[in-house]
Amino acid sequence: MPIITDTGFAPDDSPALVALDTLADEGEGVSLDLTLDADPEAVAPYFNRVDLIVIPFPGFGDGRGFSLARRLRALGYRGRLRAAGHVITDQYAFARFCGFDEVSISDEQAERQPEPLWLAAKEKAVPPFLKRKAVGWT
């Protein structure tokens, strides 16, 4: 399951994921497995312990992750944010704009959408509204 960033594919390096309800018991350097109905404010007190938050994309048509990511960034989260699941190349730039650092996809999808497509994906045209001025996106 490749992890995709602006420099292309890399192997999955993340440690075991913990759930939000056990986060209080964990130490430093945690990887959090967030559900789509989670309240971002419930995560905020633990930001300094969390290195990576994984947000699921059960189907690429489910855009909840984009809003969750933005909320987490607006609350001050500065660790890694990963969109995991069915994200297609055409969504990569949106994901980056919303605050995701990386995307993880299945091996099957990686075969259909290999690395060169993902590298090209970050060149997606930025809409004029965002291009004309920075509006607090990044």
Binding site: R70, A74, F94, F97, Q113, A125, V126, P128, G136
Partner: protein, 555 residues
């Protein structure tokens, strides 16, 4: 009207390349059909029964003659010689081929047009009063607001994969010609007690299977807060809108199931969070851009004229047809001596809203010559010439007659709204166009239509209600029973600021029965009305549904 800057130009071109690339990746197999579908939808390409339908965006229904000529050319070159104006102020081409779409999009980009986000689970074309900038009753032109929302919503990174489609409408007049209460978000421009400009924000209106009238979420939103507030609404919807059932996924359902009080609390909390966090809202309108947009909508320089036109008075004294057309198809303009013309794209026996290449060219010429080079598409599927001199009305009428566009029936019983229906649409359960054609033939005599007065018939070929039947004075809903088309009539709908959802009159009737039933209904109205100033909808409200239900089913 708005003019693209280099960012806009670059972007529509880039979108065309992107679309070509997406289509190629589909052909190569990199994208499955499921993955390709939302991408092509967000480029306006919708698969219908016979062909790919391309829905071209006409932002807030406004276009110039050059753009109208391109729309005409596209119909001629890449379609079957006509285009269909829609209830969301767009234009649809029913017969495009996938292999031509890239070229069509290029031709559109040449004239600052596109088909971006006219379909798909995203924010769609922002519609506005089709008399914007011209109407005498207008407080403020809604189109700078509509353009700002358009820019903000185009390829918005967070809101491209919503639970469902999202439609916004703006009105700048207390007479709501933009159907704001039947939109996901409706914005009504007004001023507070101190005279400051702002919006009444209405959320959760919609037609379709579960028609609902939008509820006020905020009585007064200051202008500068518009984009952060819209972000708050969309974020709450994106996170909490239902995704388990396509027919329960619009924001109106979320408002209904959550309750407006709780919804408001969530939106206001999200709005306040934005204003607080990171030192300010995530999306603030750039004052420079807002000023630039507003400047583009400055009214044209109207000739100083007396309100009464001798030329027109003389002409109408000698031409009853012209007189009728002026009386019925023109509306009051803010500038003395001027008028707003409604060109009804509703010729007898044609599909409502369909205009041929020749007619589009005729309209382009008229817009250029007589209307400061501006035209509008209305949600009633008509074309508007917003800024004409009364002196020119006789010449315009004459030209419209030649183009077979001179029906003096705006707002009358033959100014029917109909969706494409079973003849074109994969979702339809019944045909709508033949019903519209039959009715327009039955009531074709101009004096009769004028005698009946303002009477809106709206026809939908399935419960998705794209023909807006719920808000017609008379709504006709085409269903299917044991393989046979079956039409339900609703009564008492209203698409204006006094919005009402029509009431079901009784069991469905066959296609052949619709015409006679409506004739009986009209006769009952003519018998019962106090005088000709009492419209059907007024008589209905005075007497209730019973006399009309009886008339419909009398045979």
């Amino acid at each position: 009207m708005y003019r693209y800057d280099e960012f806009d130009h670059d972007y529509v071109r880039a979108r065309v390349s992107e679309f070509r690339d997406q289509t190629q990746r589909r052909i190569d197999g990199a994208l499955t059909e499921d993955e390709y579908k939302p991408l092509r939808l967000q480029n306006g390409l919708y698969l219908q029964l016979h062909a790919y339908m391309l829905r071209v965006a006409v932002p807030y229904g406004t276009l110039n003659s050059r753009q109208m000529r391109t729309l005409a050319m596209i119909a001629e070159r890449w379609d079957e010689g006509y285009g269909h104006f829609t209830t969301r102020q767009n234009i649809q081409y029913n017969w495009t081929k996938l292999t031509d779409v890239g070229d069509i999009l290029d031709a559109l980009a040449d004239v600052e047009m596109h088909a971006i986000q006219t379909s798909g689970n995203c924010i769609r074309n922002v519609t506005a009063d089709h008399f914007a900038g011209a109407a005498a009753d207008e407080i403020e032109d809604p189109r700078p607001t509509a353009e700002l929302i358009r820019q903000w919503s185009t390829a918005h990174p967070e809101f491209g994969f919503l639970p469902r489609k999202f439609k916004v409408a703006v009105t700048g007049s207390p007479n709501d010609r933009a159907v704001t209460k039947a939109h996901d978000i409706g914005l009504r421009m007004l001023r507070d007690d101190a005279g400051e400009p702002g919006y009444e924000v209405i959320v959760g209106g919609g037609l379709g299977r579960t028609p609902m009238i939008g509820k006020v979420m905020r009585d007064f939103l200051p202008k500068d807060d518009l984009l952060p507030y819209l972000e708050a609404i969309l974020r709450v919807y994106n996170l909490h809108g239902r995704r388990d059932n396509k027919y329960k996924a619009r924001i109106k359902i979320l408002v209904h199931e959550t309750g407006i009080e709780e919804m408001r609390a969530q939106v206001e909390a999200e709005f306040e969070r934005q204003m607080r966090e990171e030192g300010g809202p995530l999306v603030a309108p750039d004052p420079e851009q807002v000023a630039r947009i507003t400047a583009y909508f400055a009214p044209p320089k109207f000739e100083a004229l007396p309100d009464r036109s001798e030329t027109l008075e003389t002409a109408t004294a000698n031409d009853a047809a012209l007189k009728a057309w002026v009386e019925n198809n023109t509306a009051e303009h803010r500038a003395p001596g001027h008028a707003i013309v409604t060109v009804a794209i509703k010729g007898t026996s044609e599909a409502p809203g369909d205009a041929t290449t020749a007619q589009m060219r005729a309209l382009a010429d008229l817009g250029e010559r007589y209307s400061h080079d501006e035209l509008r598409i209305s949600h009633e599927q008509n074309v508007i010439l917003p800024h004409v001199r009364k002196d020119d009305l006789p010449a315009i009428f004459s030209a419209l007659r030649k183009a077979k566009l001179a029906s003096a029936n705006a707002g009358l019983i033959t100014d029917i709204i109909a969706c494409p229906g079973l003849d074109y649409c994969a979702l339809a359960t019944a045909r709508s166009i033949p019903v519209a054609q039959d009715l327009s033939r039955r009531f074709a005599a101009p004096e009769r239509a004028r005698a009946i007065g303002n009477f809106t018939i709206k026809i939908s070929g399935c419960i998705n209600a794209c023909g807006h039947h719920h808000v017609g004075h008379v709504g006709i809903l085409g269903l299917e029973k044991s393989g046979i088309e079956n039409y339900q009539i609703t009564l008492g709908g209203d698409h204006t600021e006094t919005m009402a959802v029509g009431e079901r009159a009784g069991p469905g009737i066959s296609a052949e029965e619709v015409g006679p039933a409506i004739e009986r209904l009209v006769d009952a109205y003519l018998d019962a009305r106090t005088d000709e100033s009492e419209r059907f909808i007024d008589t209905y409200r005075r007497l209730g549904a019973d006399p009309f239900k009886q008339a419909l089913y009398a045979a």
